[in-house]
């Protein structure tokens, strides 16, 4: 009993689901623009998790204690897991994992610009947990209610795990702040480098973000870039005070009228340059990912060959039994 429905009717059904804040699921009809936007956003998100393993992975062998090493390993392993949840969500939209990997290493899809900054000191491990994962949480919590079911479910799992990431970072920095003058200076220097790039993680200002309105209409995004950035600043300023570090922005001040902290404007020229591929580590990150992928090719092929051989043997045995 199939009815031929024209596109308008399908569109109306889609709009109704989105309007009542229900979820769109993989086999539902969806506008092509919605699908494309989701593929771009989820892929970019997945790539960010995968590339995000590199700056911190850099410090695994040099963590100062077994406890810190175990923590860092667990965190980097989580990032891999988050990337995999998101790739799976993206694949429900009809793209393959191989395609996505290819697009990343060919530089045809982006990842968060924050990972193109280097991790120069061990304090960066703490700062990334506190500021970068903190910004990621501010971004991701509203995405748990995104209109696309598989994306929202991946975000729920990720948000549960991110809270460990942020807390371990803050605890690491607090420990260093209780240490020597040199350690405190290390924390301050690290925060100085990461503060502005962390603010840029929310994307360009609303008046320069042409896709935001459509994404919000589709229920993919729930808040604008500037709203999320403000929320992050409001959460972070008191944490910085408690930590005893100075955020490198003289414009930060409580604004009684707005009920929010005022803060300065990030350098959007720098942001655009890093997005264009001119950040300090863009080439290095992609080269590393490409090398890992190509070096792993023989493992993927050997596993496929082994699986094919096993299943051939199995069916031969079954034939013998039934013969």
């Amino acid at each position: 009993m199939t009815q031929v429905q024209d596109e308008q009717e399908l569109q109306a059904q889609f709009d109704a689901v989105v309007a009542r804040h229900d979820r769109i699921e993989p086999r539902d009809w969806m506008p092509e623009g919605y699908r494309k936007t989701l593929v771009r956003q989820i892929a970019q998100h997945a790539h960010s998790e995968i590339i995000g393993m590199q700056p911190e992975g850099n410090w695994v062998t040099r963590a100062p204690s077994l406890r810190r090493k175990a923590t860092l390993l667990a965190k980097v392993q989580d990032e891999a897991g988050h990337g995999l949840y998101l790739y799976s969500a993206c694949e429900t939209l009809g793209v393959s994992r191989a395609e996505l990997t290819e697009l990343l290493i060919e530089g045809k899809q982006k990842y968060s610009s924050i990972f193109n900054y280097p991790t120069l000191s061990y304090a960066d491990v703490g700062t990334i947990g506190w500021l970068v994962d903190g910004a990621a949480i501010a971004n991701q919590v509203p995405l748990c209610r995104t209109s696309y079911g598989p994306y929202g479910r991946a975000m729920i799992r990720i948000c549960k795990e991110e809270s460990f990431h942020q807390r371990q970072g803050f605890e690491l920095l607090m420990t260093m702040m209780r240490g020597t003058d040199a350690q405190r200076a290390m924390v301050q220097e690290s925060v100085d480098r990461f503060w502005w790039p962390a603010l840029m993680m929310f994307g360009p200002p609303d008046d320069a973000s042409p896709n935001t309105a459509q994404s919000m209409a589709w229920g993919i995004k729930r808040d604008t870039n500037d709203e999320l950035r403000q929320k992050f600043v409001d959460m972070t300023v008191p944490q910085a005070e408690r930590l005893g570090v100075t955020l490198p922005d003289p414009a930060i001040a409580w604004n009684e009228d707005r009920g929010h902290y005022d803060f300065g404007e990030p350098d959007w020229e720098e942001f655009a340059a890093v997005v264009r591929g001119e950040g300090p580590c863009n080439a290095q990150r992609i080269a590393h990912r490409r090398r890992a992928h190509e070096d792993g090719a023989w493992v993927r092929e050997a596993a496929s060959a082994f699986a094919a051989q096993q299943s051939a043997q199995q069916s031969a045995q079954q034939q013998e039994v039934s013969a």
Partner: protein, 97 residues
């Protein structure tokens, strides 16, 4: 590039959170065979004691109904309110009911 040749099949992963509960779908992953799918599922979906048992099923082996909410498949249950306990009036002072 031999990207497609190296592509492993997709598996759907189900995890039993603890004894007494059903296995619940938690997501999917790629693996060359079932054994590797179980191992990968452990690392991807149960890093924090989320489960006591894992099922993996090849995604291509799943048969699904249409996802459409107006699917006639579910129509037979739509008008059978008498299958629910609230359909029946029982005086409020009848105990244990």
């Amino acid at each position: 590039m031999s990207a497609v040749r190296g592509e492993w099949p997709l598996w759907e992963v189900f995890v039993r959170g603890k004894r007494g509960l059903n296995h619940v779908h938690v997501g999917s992953l790629h693996a060359a065979d079932a054994e590797m799918a179980v191992r990968n599922a452990r690392d991807v979906y149960t890093r924090r004691n989320e489960g006591v048992s894992i099922w993996v099923v090849k995604a291509s082996d799943v048969t699904a109904s249409s996802p459409d909410e107006k699917d006639p498949l579910f129509a037979p249950a739509g008008d059978k309110v008498y299958r629910h306990p609230t359909f029946y009036d029982v005086p409020a002072d009848v105990p244990h009911m």
